[in-house]
């Protein structure tokens, strides 16, 4: 028995077997809907408005839905003809497409290689699990001609690397599907990057910085082993391929260079970032952190480098949080409570608040702690200030009439910040230094750019005792990729660094639990 699923706004109709899950119908039409938890019915983020004959609301689904006709695409089954409308808030992710980096000269070695072509260009990519950034570079001058960014289309198949790897394991051709999804997107981005006088044929080289899983998927290599102990990668070394071999459309003989990674969880994006920002040459004691679903931490103790990755979970990206959102328009990104207990906040794009993104969550948590609404152990303080008390209903603190943080949300933030802080402490222990001795913390990643340094200190994401400076470098990974396209010494430096960094695997350490538990408190 067949049923018709229509998408009036998109003007698309599709016929499917009755009993089909709505998400499958959406994918069949090649429409995009993110399913951060890979359809495990855990995150409730695949809400759509749907009318018609549908399966009854299960207990599991009921936990996520409040409004009529709003259903979870991953659970609801089509029983007859239905009409689907997408909700507005799943569009327009803001990615930061700039970063701080050192200057590198164009080296002649590269130019000489291509001396017979006129317009000599390259493209540098940073492929993040969530967002992609790209630069078009004039290889002769080293000038950045254009920049572009986009959402990683693989997000539809899972929000984090683990759920994407699960997708590869559970679906025949899963790796191929994700691989072509990313290469198609990169081709689109290249098209967007082109400027007057530059066509695809002028692009001779592409450099790619990304985490280890994203590199595997681009190279069409099954990343399964990355997500199973002992967490090994299929490849870590720099890879050089013909662009056409991974379906990237540039100059016929054009090359793609996948930058080297250190381990399954310390990828080329981190190497690229610490080279681009010259973190590797700091002659003090400093820490580089890339905050995301995985928090990658590199410590530099007078030239000795060590790195760890810690499973922070998606809370700091606004996921797994009741009113959490990624950094989209309308997300609360800054928040403050002043001494008179007045609340102020801003939203991305200045639009009406529709939820809270990662930086907003950090600000909110920090402000609630400072105002005495939250206790050190993460519990809401029932003796909070009278002026704020009215906002506290049923273990939820309301920021607007319908946006709140719950006790459970605060626990998720504790887990995320506890993991990163414990990671920092244990990494420093490996190097026999204490947090008090650290001069500087460098925060990288698109996420970091919105973040308020005081907030992350107050909530203890940076362990207590730190007295140095915090700086933000933005997307340093794409910067490093750009430098490596114009300068071979930069590329060689990355290869050298890959061998030099000591990896400290936290999850197998016996005392991780003790440190983690200690760092859960604010």
């Amino acid at each position: 028995m067949m049923a018709v699923v229509s998408f009036p706004k998109e003007n698309i109709k599709v016929q499917v077997e009755k009993g089909t899950k709505l998400i499958q119908a959406i994918r069949k039409c090649e429409l995009s809907l993110e399913t951060p938890c890979n359809c495990m019915a855990l995150c409730g983020k695949c809400k759509v408005k749907v009318f018609g004959e549908l399966s009854p609301i299960s207990k599991e689904e009921a936990a996520f839905i409040e409004e009529e006709n709003i259903r979870l695409a991953c659970l609801v089954e089509i029983q007859g003809d239905v009409e689907v409308e997408f909700l507005e808030n799943h569009k327009g992710l803001k990615t930061i497409n700039r970063g701080y980096s050192i200057k590198a000269e164009v080296d002649n070695e590269i130019i000489n290689k291509y001396k017979y072509s006129d317009n000599l260009c390259g493209v540098a990519f940073d492929i993040g699990t969530t967002g992609i950034s790209a630069y078009l570079i004039d290889l002769r001058s080293g000038e950045v001609l254009n920049k572009a960014s986009a959402l990683n289309p693989q997000t539809e198949y899972g929000g984090d690397v683990i759920s994407r790897i699960t997708f590869c394991m559970e679906n025949d051709n899963g790796t191929e599907i994700l691989s072509s999804s990313i290469s198609e997107k990169l081709n689109d981005i290249i098209e967007q990057l082109l400027v007057k006088g530059v066509n695809r044929q002028n692009i001779h080289v592409i450099t790619v910085a990304a985490n280890t899983t994203m590199l595997h998927l681009l190279a069409n290599k099954n990343p399964e082993s990355i997500a199973k102990a002992p967490y090994t990668a299929v490849f870590l070394d720099k890879q050089e391929k013909l662009a056409k071999d991974i379906n990237l459309e540039i100059y016929e003989e054009g090359k793609v260079i996948l930058l080297p990674s250190v381990s399954a969880y310390i990828g080329a994006d981190i190497i690229s970032g610490i080279v681009a920002t010259d973190f590797i040459n700091k002659n003090n004691k400093s820490i580089f952190i890339d905050i995301g679903t995985n928090g990658e931490i590199v410590a530099n103790c007078n030239g000795e480098l060590a790195a760890s990755s810690t499973a922070a979970g998606p809370a700091l990206e606004g996921m797994n949080i009741s009113c959490g959102l990624r950094a989209v328009e309308g997300a609360i990104d800054k928040f403050n409570i002043d001494e008179e207990c007045n609340i102020t906040y801003t939203t991305i794009g200045g639009r009406k608040a529709i939820g809270i993104c990662g930086s907003g969550l950090l600000d909110i948590t920090s402000a609630l702690l400072t105002a005495g609404v939250l206790e050190k152990n993460g519990r809401f303080n029932i003796k909070m200030n009278e002026k704020l008390r009215g906002r506290f209903i049923d273990k939820k603190f309301y920021i607007t009439d319908d946006i709140y943080v719950s006790q459970k949300d605060i626990r998720q933030i504790q887990l995320a910040k506890g993991a990163i802080a414990a990671g920092i402490i244990m990494l420093l222990k490996e190097l026999h230094i204490r947090i008090e001795e650290i001069d500087e913390i460098v925060i990288a990643g698109a996420f970091g750019y919105h973040v308020n340094a005081e907030s992350i200190k107050t909530i203890g994401l940076i362990p207590k005792g730190f007295k140095g400076n915090v700086s933000f470098v933005g997307n340093s990974s794409v910067e490093g990729a750009a430098l490596s396209a114009i300068n071979n010494k930069v590329l060689n430096k990355m290869i050298e660094i890959k061998e030099k960094i000591k990896i400290v695997e936290l999850s197998t350490k016996v005392d991780f639990q003790n440190y983690f538990i200690k760092e859960l408190n604010f």
Binding site: M40, A41, L42, S163, T166, K228, A311, Q414, T508
Partner: protein, 220 residues
């Protein structure tokens, strides 16, 4: 129970809830000096305190650090009282617990183990990254009625299904029940692989485990 002893038992509970290791030790020693029944001191004192801590955790009053500190206090008390237990004390329900193969994240598993121990189970902890077959062989060896499986990663969830398959092959499915939990696990997944129970956290897991074990023993 006479008048001096009852407050002692209540104090033990309170010391556990208040995460006070030293006081718990002190009170446990007093129990022995004053001849309080050791089993009562453990069950009505220490375990009850831990149960109370679990309740506070459920209500959002306590979080993982508090729960672990309470359990530290409880174990300090148990270490003192246990050697004085009469040899023929009642046989406990037994359960095997561990993190499935391919995963090394074990904090969730450790919490479940504590709460199940509190609920009266004798726990056999196989640790982390444990092959499916080892869960079954251990359960057979010790006569466990429950296998409790945990994982934090969706990539290793299939190890849970493997355990159930082995139990089926060995025709043990009606004797040994399987409980699962962890970040990526849902009721939907539990239904799919045919697990007997899924719970969202440690205190609920302990409650469900007791029901399952009782059901099994009454069924016999």
């Amino acid at each position: 129970m006479d008048n001096i002893k009852e407050p002692l038992i209540n104090d033990l509970s309170e010391a556990v809830v208040e995460m006070d290791e030293e006081r718990t030790e002190e009170l446990a020693n007093q129990c022995i000096d004053k001849g309080v029944d050791v089993l009562t001191a453990i069950n009505e004192g220490l375990a009850k305190g831990m149960e109370q801590a679990g309740k506070l955790y459920d209500e959002g009053e306590y979080y993982i650090p508090e729960l672990l500190m309470c359990s530290d206090a409880m174990y300090k008390g148990i270490d003192i009282l246990k050697p004085h237990l009469p040899k023929d004390s009642e046989t406990k329900f037994k359960a095997v617990i561990g993190v499935v193969q391919g995963d090394t994240h074990d904090i969730g598993k450790n919490l479940v183990k504590i709460m199940m121990e509190t609920a009266g189970f004798e726990m056999y902890d196989l640790g982390r990254d444990v092959p499916a077959v080892e869960f079954v062989s251990k359960a057979k060896e010790v006569g466990a009625c429950i296998i409790a499986l945990s994982t934090l990663m969706s990539t290793t969830m299939c190890g849970m299904e493997d355990v159930i398959k082995i139990l089926e092959e060995e025709k043990l499915r009606d004797k040994i029940k399987v409980m699962i939990g962890g970040g990526p696990i849902s009721q939907k997944f539990a239904d799919k692989i045919g697990a007997d129970a899924y719970t969202t956290d440690a205190t609920k897991a302990a409650k469900v485990a007791v029901e399952i074990a009782k059901g099994l023993s009454e069924g016999k």
